[in-house]
Amino acid sequence: MPLLTIDNLHVHFIARDLGDRVRTARALNGVSLTVDEGEIVGLVGETGAGKSLTGLALLGLLRPPAHIVAGTITFEGAPLDAAAISAARGKRITLIPQSPLTSLDPLCRVGDQLVRVQREHANVSRRAAIERARALLAEVRIPDPDRCLRAWPHELSGGMAQRVLIAMALVHRPRLIIADEPTTGLDVTVQADVLDTLRNLVRVHRMSALLVTHDLGVVAQYCDRVAVLFAGTSVECAPTATLFEATAHPYTRTLIASTPHAIRRQGYAAASGTPPDLYALPLGCVYRERCDQATERCAAAPTTTALSPTHAVQCHFAGATP
């Protein structure tokens, strides 16, 4: 049984505009994915596709006007309702946030922050907590843990700050880590270092990770499986190698063709369209307006086609020759 199952999750932002009319932004429109134990699952898509929002929903951090209007989340075999999320958040499900330098408390030394996270969830002495903080910093391969404990966040580089945040996410040995673009903005050498560290920790401690990213290089090199999001819908889920070699959804194909790597081989593809308007999504397939294969059939919402037990696609033409 998977550690985490998200089934057909819908999140809408429901608010009134200045004219007191109710407006609904359909941000998530059917996200389904599973994360098995010990697995790193990539969540890719463009800005506004709902990657981070899926992570927030998992952590129970959605606040009005965001509402979960349909769908279920199952974690460790039990439904992840509000009470279950409160108990799990920060302990069994943790977050590595996106922007390392703004995610640490600027007025609190690194060591004190690591102590605070521990004492929030468990009754430990300050001395024991500092010992553990030092061990955690060593575990995420920070060169001089003692110096780092005394450092202020602004004294850290982006890569170091991200390592501290990984250490913070590891404090309670979580089962699931949600890493929200953990290396965006870092230099390539630092990015590879940080992701290596994360992968090794996930493997050694048999945790699982949901890795939110828009970088297909990160996906190809670090993820076991991938879910591709478009307009809040998981349009394709597959093991990484399958996704790249037997790509089935037209959007995934466009995405892969947009990498400089692919452009060098195949030349520039036709320009892609604008991001979808979440207030007025097309009926039927969400990708219909940008898809070069769309026909009248696409006015009806596609169902999930399982091309194999591990490869699911939301497209009317999945499996047929393109």
């Binding site: 493997r203 048999r206 990484t240 190698a241 892969i256």
Partner: protein
């Protein structure tokens, strides 16, 4: 590394820029950098944050003045030109910025933003100006309806197209692009790169393309300069650099690039530590403190450029003895297999 190209459009010689930061200290942002750009050539500038890429972009467009060295653009020495003397040259020397949201005046419509460089540099009557604006908008594929909107109403990709329209409005000979696609989504980025490629082929404009994304640089440029701590450590034709990187830093940088192809396994040269502070320059090779194969002498003597081919130069003392190849990183930090079922030696500790 002085590789003066005859007939170069831009020629930079021994360029340095130091920023005073008080207490008698200064940041050595750019140190003794020399290179040329031929007409129509696309030159890439790569390196980590703090390597001086953007400072070089600001120097060659003379938005800031160098501390020493010489900049020659289109046969004219612009090293010490004042703002008013620079102004007529700016039509030929344009810049596209990294952050399209911050690069446009929020109180100007898109039409006014595109019209501004035309009004400043070209003597056209209003009707001709208006038609030139429409032509440019069409060229960069901004819908005509967007011309009367304000920057906040456009997406990042569209704003970057406006930035490019402004840059090409005066038919420049060189455009400096400072990370033009790094804040954009993958598919939007591909559209911008395709546009740049078309513009280059149509107008023959030369590009100085600043980026930390090696994949994009490999796609866009003809020649690449690799910067480390404000120094050019290696320069070569793009194909040569990517197939045969000579400097240990370039080797490490290329090996850390994540290829979007699960069949190419990452086999990385791990660099330890971080880029040193640029306030005190090391006396020897700038990379010695992090170089896995540094010799004792590397910390002492600054290596002279070594010529691997007429178009390939690298500053490393070990190239002369052919001992500059980094040995592939051991698999210690990597799993031998990508199967999640592997390496289950440690059971999950109970919380």
């Amino acid at each position: 590394m002085s590789t003066s190209t005859p007939g170069a459009l831009l020629h930079v010689d021994a360029l340095s820029k130091r920023f005073p930061i008080g207490a008698g200290q200064q940041v050595h942002a750019v140190n003794d950098v020399s290179f040329g750009i031929a007409p129509g050539e696309a030159v890439g500038l790569v390196g980590e944050s703090g390597s001086g890429k953007s400072t070089i972009g600001l120097l060659v467009t003379r938005l800031i003045a160098p501390s020493s060295g010489q900049i020659v653009f289109a046969g004219q020495d612009i090293t010490a030109l004042g703002d008013s003397a620079m102004r007529p040259l700016r039509a030929a020397l344009q810049l596209v910025f990294q952050n399209p949201w911050g690069a446009l005046n929020p109180r100007m419509t898109i039409r006014a933003a595109i019209e501004e460089p035309i009004r400043l540099h070209l003597a056209l009557d209003p009707a001709a100006r208006a038609s030139r604006v429409r032509e440019l908008a069409d060229r960069v594929r901004i819908p005509a309806a967007a011309l009367d909107r304000y920057p906040h109403e456009l997406s990042g990709g569209q704003l970057q197209r406006v930035g490019i329209a402004r840059a090409i409005a005066t038919k420049p000979r060189l455009i400096v692009l400072d990370e033009p696609t790094s804040s954009l989504d993958l598919s939007v980025r591909a559209g911008i790169l395709a546009l740049l490629d078309e513009i280059r082929r149509e107008t023959g404009v030369a590009l100085l393309f600043i980026s930390h994304d090696l994949e994009t640089v490999e796609l866009v440029t003809d020649r690449v300069l690799v910067l480390y701590l404000g120094r050019v450590v290696e320069q070569a034709r793009t194909t040569e650099l990517f197939s045969n990187p000579a400097h240990p830093y370039t080797q490490a940088l290329l090996s850390a690039t994540l290829k979007p192809d699960p069949r190419t396994r990452l086999s990385r040269h791990v660099l330890h530590g971080e880029i040193p502070r640029p306030t005190v320059l090391p006396p020897g090779c700038v990379f010695a403190s992090r170089c896995p194969i540094a010799l004792e002498s590397c910390a002492r003597d600054n290596p002279a450029p070594y010529t691997l081919s007429p178009s390939h130069h690298a500053c490393c003392a070990r190239i002369a003895t052919d001992s500059h190849r980094l040995v592939r990183a051991e698999a210690t930090s990597h799993e031998p297999t990508r199967e999640p079922a592997a390496a289950r030696s440690n059971p999950a500790p109970s919380t």
